[in-house]
Amino acid sequence: MADGPIQATIRAVAEAIDRAADRFEPSVRVLELGHVVAIQDDVLRIRGLREAAVDEIVEVGSKRALVLSLDRREVRAILLDEPGGIGEGSTVRSRGAVASIRVGEGLFGRVVDPLGRALDGAPLAGSLSEVPLQRPAPGIHERGPVHSPLATGVLAVDALFPIGRGQRESSSSATSVRARPRSCWTSCYASATPTWSASMSRSVGGAGETVAVVEELRRGGGRYVVVSAPEDIGPGLRYLAPYSGVAVAEHFALRGEHALVVFDDLSAHAVAWRELALLLRRPPGREAYPGDVFYLHARLLERAAQLAPELGGGSVTALPVAVLDGGRLTAYIPTNLISITDGQLVFSDTLFTAGQKPAIDGTLSVSRVGARAQPQAIRALGAKLKLDYASFLELEAFSRLGTRLDASTERTIERGRRIRRLLRAQRGQSLDLVGEVVRLLLAASDALLRVPEDEVGAAAQACDEAARVQHGALCDQIRRDGVIHQTAREALEQTLERVVSASWAA
């Protein structure tokens, strides 16, 4: 009879104990102890612990603290639990263990704190392995080129600012719409029934916001993990949250899976690090951030990678979110992130209030790597869309001045307005490759200009349905190979023309 999960666990544990006992020799266990000499603002000053290391977790009774600073006389650590019961003279114990999180399939669908403690009221189940939060990024020989797309199902992203698996793409927004990038990525995940696992680290917002995030993610199946460190907890856990998120994503990438990690948001994370640095009396630099705030995020985002085939070919795609103070893209943390990442999406307040979702500002956004990973069908058709849309954005500003425009310019603007409508994502809708190809063909066709601006969405939907009904085999081939041949293109263009002519004659 096959083992059930309980029997399998017992068998695995028994074998592990057996093997541990084989190599076991009685020896004297040497432990280092220290004692708290002062506690202020959750920072412990500890004497003793001569062999403590930075990022090590030390224990004060049942409470845990993270070692952040070492000097000749004492160790400084930030408490990761409530300080109750800790005072001068409390004994501190070092276990020689760095901060870690337990991760595995059992973590899917769960909300945990950065040390992996469940926050959603039920114990963690299933087989979980302990992984360190801090580990070196993969080296050059362990990486492969970014070659496959992270299909988000959002036309504006997949066609204009494509993201490849293993890429790092930051998304920035003004404070007033700061939830927008996160919301964009969660709804992508929720709608796409994705082939990737998502890990989201949250160092911002309250518990209520996290509940909303989880509700959204749940719609996309269960392969997500939320690492939550809301604003009302201490800076220690908020500092660790993104490292936990990426450690979870790495775990699955090392098994050959494709993982996505959203850091929501790294501006709040930088603020947590600034709090810690000031508490540790480190010299403040620009905007009072410590000098190593760039390194803090660079070492985090370097861990995103497309792994080499010898390592299983998995990937970690990182989407850090940043908040633009006063809407300034040139603020300290957003510019740091822009220089670290392989592109940025800037979410615009104005576009959002005009109903454009995702509210990606085409003039300020770029993806530097993803185009290499685009399927040929999207790359072939998306190039024209990019040019048309960029010309439109430039000309639209002039048209607002009431300048008289020639026929060709007016045509470019009319097309651009319709393209913008076409790029608008419907809530809960995720486009597959065929859906995106149909919309790109429509965007390039003259038929689009015959459709009133308000009805572009309906026209696109009608064309999509007609293409699938009339060219089922072609659609299957496009979906399978990611390639559109000239004959397929012509057949689909004729269908679009027929559909538009039938319903939007003039």
């Binding site: 695995a12 544990v13 104990i17 266990r29 040497v30 102890l33 003793g48 612990l49 098994r255």
Partner: protein, 130 residues
Amino acid sequence: MREVTIERATSVAGKMLLVLALEAVEQALRSRLLEEIARSVVGHGGRRTEGEEVELRCARMPDDAGMETLRAALAAALGRAPQLTVREDDALVAGIVVRIGDRVLDASIAGQLEVLRERARALLNEEAHG
């Protein structure tokens, strides 16, 4: 589940050990403790000798000869007669734990079982990571 199984299985192993070979195990642990006392203090260049108190916890109080051997080892290592506090602690199952200032030398069965647990956990983790 895994944690509980490791905990229970190793506890049972500890009890069996206690029943079958208490004397031999205690003797082995005590001789290793004496070696470690010398190594531990010398290894730190004698920095720990000033005013550090020594605490001794044991599952069963050693007999007079055993206590004298320990006291002599500590005196040799510290370079002075130790200020010794001794207390009994059933939780150790068998063996002795010595604390010299900030350093704890754990030669107890409870400590050995903890090492065994940590190794078993590490092996399970290694397996899970392939």
